[in-house]
Symmetry: C2
Subunit: 226 residues, 2 copies
DNA sequence: ACAAAAGTGTTCCTCATACACCCATGT
DNA sequence: ACATGGGTGTATGAGGAACACTTTTGT
């Protein structure tokens, strides 16, 4: 028994304050004209992560920015009507700005806000939901929120990431203290913003800590999936 | 391009106070005579999780006990010398006692303590390390430690699970208060142990909460992998 | 009586929360 | 001057760590 193996990407970013995902419109059946996650087949000499990174670059042109990690695999017998296909889903957290390019399948790609999103092709609804929940959980105990920001960012930008991903409001003053006092979360650059309204803000880069101590916990937590 | 798809299981339990993993001795090449994780091919009409559960039952005879979740997929081009094989790894947390049965490949299965474990076949070292780290992390935020215990257990048994998995010592008194006061962690049965040394202990069953509020954090945390 | 393990009370400290307040800039 | 957002100080309360102490059994 052999399988086709694909990688599908849940690419998330913050656009106009809304958590958004990159979707393509399928040009060919099945699910022609429907929205789907971008993805493609794993090539003969490629590792899974390499295939995901290749797809990411093809869709966005971004290389090395943001964050890419494996999300999980989906291989139910009937998930693709064309045959037995196992997909390895990856989660990407990206800074805003990358104008989506048309994929190699000549399908149009768009950033779509998650709010009130229509059904997706295949089992991509489930994959997307798993990816969003993973992202929400990871913001609690890792400094990965910075992956949504440009190389240098203000504490307020970082807070807006949390507010968009968690769909909550956070106290700007407590958030500021928390972030700057947690070892390895962010690193001050010494530079500041200018030309904006209000007092200039310090610019930071992402810190080196792989996990946050202590974590930044959500209040009303959503139930875990697995 | 097609692939062979397998599931491999990281099955963990506590034996004599030591975190242990079920390994098989390979009867055939490659890596003949070496230790490996139990696993096998996904069948034509099987979902990935079903294949993992089938392998779990084949190896241990346990059905419905413990906890089973997907760990991740591994598909580097050279990971199996016989060809292109993608494996979907699953993590199982099991109560002690199941005498390992010989697998269907006529390979001997043994519970092996993690301390000072020799090299494993294929990339199973990496998969095992990922599984152990996942288990360690999950004990922080979920009540899954109970998956290592029999249906009814004492707080001391639960504490010994944490001590074995985290390789630390926890204060029995603070641990008791913490567990019993965290909503949905454990449920009192009203019954108690008898015939043991010291004061009898209340028996509990696993609670219904999917996540712990607040979590039970490790002190010196290991760095995350991804 | 004693050992052993279960379970409670108490103290101290860290950190989250709420919010008053000051700072530095654009208009 | 005033609005706007950046950033600090501080009081209160919940929870973690340490540990003295009581309870309930077996030997």
């Amino acid at each position: 028994m052999t399988f086709a193996v694909t990688v599908d990407l849940v690419m998330l970013t913050i656009r106009d304050g809304a958590l958004s995902v990159l979707l393509i419109r399928r040009a060919i059946p099945p699910f022609q004209g429907g929205y789907a996650l971008p993805g493609g087949f794993v090539l003969p000499d490629e590792d899974l992560g390499e295939a995901a990174e290749r797809e990411l670059v093809e869709e966005t042109g971004l290389r090395g920015a943001g964050h890419l990690e494996q999300l999980g695999s989906y291989g139910a017998p009937g998930r693709d009507p064309r045959g037995r296909v196992v997909t390895v889903a990856y989660l990407a957290l990206l800074p805003d700005a990358p104008a989506p390019r048309a994929g190699s399948d000549a399908a149009a790609a768009d950033w779509v806000p998650l709010e009130g999103l229509a059904d997706l092709a295949f089992d991509h609804d489930r994959i997307l939901a798993d990816g969003v929940e993973r992202a929400r959980a990871k913001l609690e105990y890792t400094p990965l929120a910075a992956a949504f920001c440009p190389p240098e960012f203000t504490i307020a930008e970082l807070r807006q990431v949390y507010e968009a991903v968690w769909a909550t409001r956070l106290d700007p003053r407590n958030f500021h203290r928390k972030v700057t006092s947690t070892e390895g979360f962010v690193e001050a650059t010494g530079r500041s913003t200018a030309g904006e309204r209000g007092r200039p803000a310090q610019l930071f880069t992402r810190g080196t800590a792989p996990v946050l101590h202590p974590p930044l916990l959500r209040k009303g937590q959503l139930p875990a999936l697995s």
